[in-house]
Subunit: 239 residues, 2 copies
DNA sequence: CGGGGTGATTGGTCTATGCCAATCTTGGGG
DNA sequence: CCCCAAGATTGGCATAGACCAATCACCCCG
């Protein structure tokens, strides 16, 4: 046995094959590749599986396997998805899945903890799919403490959560703390983001503070690992 | 056929099984689970595979499959690994794999681009494994432009790259830009970080600037997705 | 000429099985 | 009593094949 698994060798060979192809090119079928390489379809699928997870290939049942999507999508996440995406010539949009004015109960333990809320306190929760140039990039759930009258209408009109909070409710976020971890796509995320189950995602949670240091926003988002890049610029506070 | 794949159901059942177990507990063998659930070992392996990728299980050939490690390790990456890790009561250390004083040639295209260097310009490159409480957390390669005399010795003594630059070479980093993406572990990363090939990692690249806006550091790191959390705190610059 | 149905194609999932490599266990020899 | 060698156990890799579901192309019918 050689050092590396066979499937890894085939992965590299496929990587060479697709290196020069334009995005969206159809590659040979799994059965054909297995035959060509003299291996089994299972092994080819494992090789292709990793390339898919890396965003270098996409596969569609019944159709075929194609070379990677439109390419990497750099998106700054420094202040707001909408505002930053525009700044780099990217067309952002959102599809609102759900807006609710809620009151904290036992099912909101996580939200309450992050926003320092108690049982019965009001907050708004918005669930959205974030799109870039029409393609789904991420799934975001934002929570804002308080009772926000007519919030849904304002948000739909402006498109941007931050703009809505600022212009319609006088809520200004002056400092944010972002946390980034990895996460694997579950059934819901896979469906909404159009990726395979188990695909690596970036889980980005954000806590927004106002001038008085109060939490005025808490958001959790899951973004496609291969299409998204989180960027933070920080003035070093160290002496 | 139900909506969800079978392996996903088994994954959830295994998740329940291990929910109450302390970290490090041995779970039944793959063959036993396959028999119990009335399915094939292949399917069980797929279920366990995802749980491993999520950090909930670890498996060792010849030994068995065990419940997840010591739990999530929050690490701030705001200024410096060493300094921040200490601040939250975590014992950081590094294992230096390689230190080189180099001059830009054709093989350093990426490095040169990020540091705005030209052919022949000198820079130092350090490759380290970052450890937290003795466990490998990440693999980092740092590049610093310039000719740094006695750099290796100073770094080994101080342990911290930032402290070395500051104290021994008068290089002060006042602003950093961090980029975060996902990345799957390749053979080398898998070996050094003690994770499986294909495990999701956080790829964190950092560009450090001095007061004059010059690039004085460029670093790329790969960190275990399940043991690491990137945190950035930003004063919103938006009007 | 247009539209819809039908079958071939292709990826998605699962089974059953074999062998390899790392680890652990056990027992015998020094 | 300790150490180590050999066998049993366990995960790691790969094979061959079956059936399902989504898609696509083509042909037939209106």
């Amino acid at each position: 046995m050689s050092e590396l698994p066979k499937y890894y060798g085939y992965k590299m060979r496929i990587l060479e094959m697709i290196a020069d192809l334009p995005p969206g090119s159809l590659i040979p079928t799994e059965r054909a590749l297995a035959l060509d390489f003299g291996t089994s379809r299972t092994t080819i699928r494992k090789a292709i599986g990793e390339l898919v997870a890396e965003g270098k290939l996409t596969r569609t049942q019944g159709s075929g396997t194609y070379t990677g999507g439109p390419k990497i999508t750099h998106v700054r996440q420094l202040t707001s998805f909408t505002e930053d995406a525009k700044a780099i010539g990217y067309t952002p949009s959102s599809e609102i899945l759900d807006i609710e004015q809620l009151h904290v109960d036992d099912s909101h333990a996580v939200e309450a903890q992050h926003m320092n809320l108690s049982h019965g306190d009001p907050f708004v929760r918005v669930k959205r799919v974030r799109l870039g140039n029409g393609e789904p990039l991420g799934l975001e759930t934002a929570c804002i403490p308080g009772e926000l009258e007519g919030f849904a209408g304002h948000l739909r009109e402006r498109g941007s959560l931050y703009a809505t909070l600022r212009e319609d409710f006088g809520i200004r976020i002056t400092e944010v703390e972002d946390g980034v971890e990895t996460h694997l796509a579950g059934p819901e995320e896979a469906r909404l983001l159009k990726v395979e189950m188990g695909s690596p995602l970036l889980r980005i949670d954000r806590t927004g503070f106002d001038d008085d240091g109060r939490v005025v926003e808490w958001t959790v988002g899951h973004f496609c690992g291969d299409r998204f890049r989180f960027v933070a610029r920080t003035r070093a506070a160290v002496a």
